[in-house]
Symmetry: C2
Amino acid sequence: MKTEWIAVDWGTTALRAWAMVGGAVVDLRHSDRGMGRLQPSEFEAALLDLVSDWLGAEATPVVACGMVGSRQGWVEAPYSRVPCKPLTTTVTAPTTDPRLRVDVISGLAQDTPPDVMRGEETQIAGFLALNPSFDGILCLPGTHTKWVHMSAGEVVSFRTVMSGEVFAAISTQTVLRHSLDTQEMDREAFDAALSETMTRPETFARDLFGLRAADLLTQAPPQVARARLSGGLIGLELAATKPYWLGQPVAIIGAPALSALYERSLRAQGVICEQADADEVTRAGLHAAYLRIQGIAS
Amino acid sequence: MKTEWIAVDWGTTALRAWAMVGGAVVDLRHSDRGMGRLQPSEFEAALLDLVSDWLGAEATPVVACGMVGSRQGWVEAPYSRVPCKPLTTTVTAPTTDPRLRVDVISGLAQDTPPDVMRGEETQIAGFLALNPSFDGILCLPGTHTKWVHMSAGEVVSFRTVMSGEVFAAISTQTVLRHSLDTQEMDREAFDAALSETMTRPETFARDLFGLRAADLLTQAPPQVARARLSGGLIGLELAATKPYWLGQPVAIIGAPALSALYERSLRAQGVICEQADADEVTRAGLHAAYLRIQGIAS
């Protein structure tokens, strides 16, 4: 089937593209040529390498979100200030190949406290397209987890907590790496650490070295140490973001395994939450942007 | 002057040796051949490379502390369990050169909560040798800061907080590295972050990404971001170690710049504290161990 338009999610470490007809996927590709590995002049070639056989003689519309729109990206798509709708402006990227017309979606920024997002605004728009009446909190867990307060179709405020990146730095770059050599997590240890840091957040930093010492002294299992580090960080995050989730419905949008940890943690606080499919909402957000660019929807 | 004995502080990343006559230094050397870069069979040669011209025909006593006594070191000097005096046992390392006799000082361990130290026990012993009547808290800031409760010449309990290593991991391995490119720290920003995390520890993790966002949105100066990260981590540490320092005299033993940050932070809580010279207490501890090994003191 002929590609009508191309949806692109172009982050720091990865590039994903979907060949689309309306809101339906007809093909998909991905590559590891993320923004972090490309100079501004290299984006067009990187995209063509991945999708050129989807293109016809006429310009195919491409709609892209993510770090591709940052200052170090293909073209800078300036941040829009919240409160605002998640989809605001797009910027057309410079291209030389007449078969391409590429529009990049702006990220969102907040002045107080200072915060930014790029890519998540598109997922938020997609979630709203699929759930138009949703009011409440969106939680987008990842390297930089976003907590987003939605009301009447607008992003009211948001907060980024970098628990994922801190987990990666501590678990690979400190002495704890010797005691975390597993991908498994002990559920009870996760729950206990979560509960402890939610009650006494200051214990998080104090108890870190104990994970190493317990390994040295009693060969404590790595799946316990890994679960305690994860549970401790998520507990610290939930303690700090309580004004977001307390008494609110929460929808979680992220990779399934990490989303499940957040769901488990929020449910332990009595929060009503659900998971949404991250790929589906990303495509729905890019589709909503495509319809706006084509003048089909507002 | 002829070397009577050799004092050695052999950690993970560095080897330092002093040629001694009694308690007086007659020469000193250092090298970057720490435990982390050596196989067990390579320690003797590394030491000889550094100090062979200090040696006479007879065996010169060498007293060593630090990671040289770990399982991956020259010889394992098993941990002694607290409560106990800081100097407990020594283990003689295997040597082939008749000009050397090397004794390695045991570290200390604690079962509940699990914790270990290697090297700091020697500094503690040296501090006690210089301040025999001290009862109170020793704070040894560093990669792994130790908080030590001393009473009647014994280590009653201790706690390791790895703020230094977490600072290094976050400031070099996460997105914040782009916003911390300075060695300067803004004092007001340090004090404010310290106070905030002492009052509301959970804000530490939540506010991290704001350091990056403030840089992106308002070009906030890196010396403010660096100070906030440092103050936040030390605030989290002080909040968690309050049972150690509250209402107690504290002596700080560490590198001068880091010790000054801890002193500033503790004084802001009304704690009476003083700094001790880390090199001097290390040598005094090694000297106390030397006297015991020679049967000159108990």
